[in-house]
Symmetry: C2
């Protein structure tokens, strides 16, 4: 039995705790009673998670403490993140008679969390939200920080709200049903956080790489906790993404997003694209002498151990990637700005086409 | 020329000003430049307002100061407050390429403000919002306080967000095209605020009743300012409707909402139902000895002068009204609680069926 970790996210007006552990679902309701009144609530999950034992375990864990969850099942993956599905959830909350003093519990990956979070943010002008993430990506990244939203055909996350959860409960036991490739992909965000944190964190991840991919609970709790700790600190400093501090979380994402766009959705997992983006960022930093010289090698070795890609896939024209990042460039008034690792964290700096071209090669 | 009034709404993290005056639209953009950068913005209005000179005046006023408004026209009245129309506005904002640092300007009555406010609250997780109310109700009530939202078939305002505007500009010249009945209806909320404020405010309204219905700018600026001042104070004390303080704004609304439900939408204007509700509340307070004894007569005289109803319309069974308020009762754990006037404000107290029956008679 691994003792659960608790990491506090210090945001106004209501700080909240992220609990990371193994076997937490059985006590889900009991753990929530510190912050929330039992009684009716909504449990939003997707078809994929509903087919695993986790949705039932969460339901039982809520009932055991007097919560009365009404289950709302949405499509799996990004298909859930649409205004139409948000409308479906609102109708379900209306049918359940969910009052202002009730809560929405999101059980699933990042897409379910984003959708359910948006529904909670907008139901009766905002009700309490609990995240029960069931993927590494959702545990270490998307369930913390208060970003919620849905996509439009014009772009991802164009509609949404900042709505911090009242609590996050990450039970690594739910990762047992997650495909190995998705575990690895989620760990790419943890690697990003390790780069933002310190070299010791990277070393620990390297030591645990095999155990992480095997789903060992202890190393998974450690890895998720690292991601949450780094993200919590940055979110607390910049809850509404205004000061620029939160932009550091985009390390690896300029190239990553461009790769996702260029390859088309579904070819690369988000984390796989980020993994390549991390290597590119480390190369850019090394080339300008502002980052640790050995970081490129360290990162490449770690990502390979985590079965993640480290180079632009065959058949992808680097020029298309350069062009795709230029779309970001326009937004920031004429120059491409990227997050690059430094000796003790990261910084946002301008990056020329030529420099990016060299790093992508 | 009447000097504009400015009333500050002291909410965190960003207080804002409500400017009330005559001839403000021409300088709309100039006035906004204190808080907002010029450039592209969205101007959301409805078909009714688009057919008046006010939408063009607002557009010209914005352009004169370097704003580039893209007009988004929605259906008139409550028909605008649906998830479907919100989706239409989001699509229009996407088509306009409206960025996170841009703003939405709502030009219209309460429905346009609620819808456009919801769109602004949720566009890219929240962009700046400016209210340019064109009805008395929107000026004195709905444009201040940050409530935004849309209706579902299951109920009004079930979906929404708290999103305070960056600025409110109420130009009473826009009321010249408003039907007299709508001017009177909006003034019912001002009467409510006068009851919450003091007896001098009621006396001033009585003196100005004829001028107000004639659309005299000076008295209208005074009346709107009174409503905004009272609402701003309460909103600043309870921005998210949590402490109970904001509930005082429901004076007259328990009976009012019940009357709207019982008579069906469109029979009574909202303000007309509230006018009757104010008299009922004053009678209840007088009957229990907690309110000013002469308030019933004072209120009745004022409301009659404002061409507003003071009694339940013929053909409406008071028992249906009692039953309809009992729906509210359920929500508040078993007893009907109503806002009743006191000697110097208002209070929330339990009200029995019999007491309400007597006051409705």
């Amino acid at each position: 039995m691994i003792a659960p970790r608790r990491i506090d996210v210090d945001v106004a007006p209501m700080p909240y705790g992220v609990t990371i552990g193994s076997g937490l679902l059985a006590s889900l309701g009991e753990r929530l009673r510190a912050d929330l009144d039992p009684g009716p609530c909504a449990l939003v999950t997707d078809e994929g998670v509903a087919a695993t034992p986790h949705a039932d375990a969460a339901t039982d864990g809520l009932r055991a403490a007097g919560f009365e969850p009404v289950r709302v099942v949405v499509p799996t993956g990004e298909a859930a993140k649409t205004p139409r599905v948000a409308g479906f959830v609102w109708s379900a909350l209306a049918a359940a008679g969910l009052g202002r003093d009730r809560c929405v519990v999101a059980v699933g990956g990042g897409a379910v969390g984003d959708l359910a979070g948006f529904a909670a943010a907008t139901w009766m002008r905002g009700v309490d939200l609990v995240h029960v993430p069931t993927t590494v990506l959702a545990m270490a990244d998307s369930s913390v920080g208060g970003k919620t939203g849905v996509n439009l055909s014009a772009g991802k996350n164009l509609v949404g709200a900042f709505h911090q959860p009242r609590a996050v409960l990450a039970d690594v036991d739910t990762l047992t049903t997650l495909p190995r490739r998705d575990v690895a992909s989620g760990l790419a965000e943890v690697v990003k956080c390790a780069v933002l944190a310190d070299r010791a964190a990277l070393a620990t991840l390297s030591q645990n790489a095999v155990a992480l991919l095997k789903g060992a609970p202890g190393p998974l709790v450690d890895a998720v906790s690292l991601g949450v700790r780094v993200k919590a600190e940055i979110v607390a400093a910049d809850p509404f993404e205004r000061s620029g501090r939160r932009a550091l979380l985009n390390l690896g994402h300029t190239t990553g997003h461009a790769l996702e766009t260029v390859t088309g959705h579904g070819v690369l997992r988000h984390g796989e694209a980020v993994a390549i983006g991390l290597v590119v960022a480390a190369r850019l930093a090394a080339a300008r002498g502002s980052g640790p010289a050995d970081l490129v090698t360290t990162l490449e070795d770690l990502l390979i151990a985590l079965e993640l890609p480290i180079a632009v896939p065959d058949g992808v024209d680097p020029e298309h990637v350069v062009a795709a990042t230029a779309l970001d460039k326009k937004r920031a008034a004429g120059e491409r700005r990227m997050v690059l690792p430094t000796l003790d964290g990261a910084e946002v700096v301008p990056v020329t086409d030529d420099a990016l071209r060299a790093a992508l090669a």
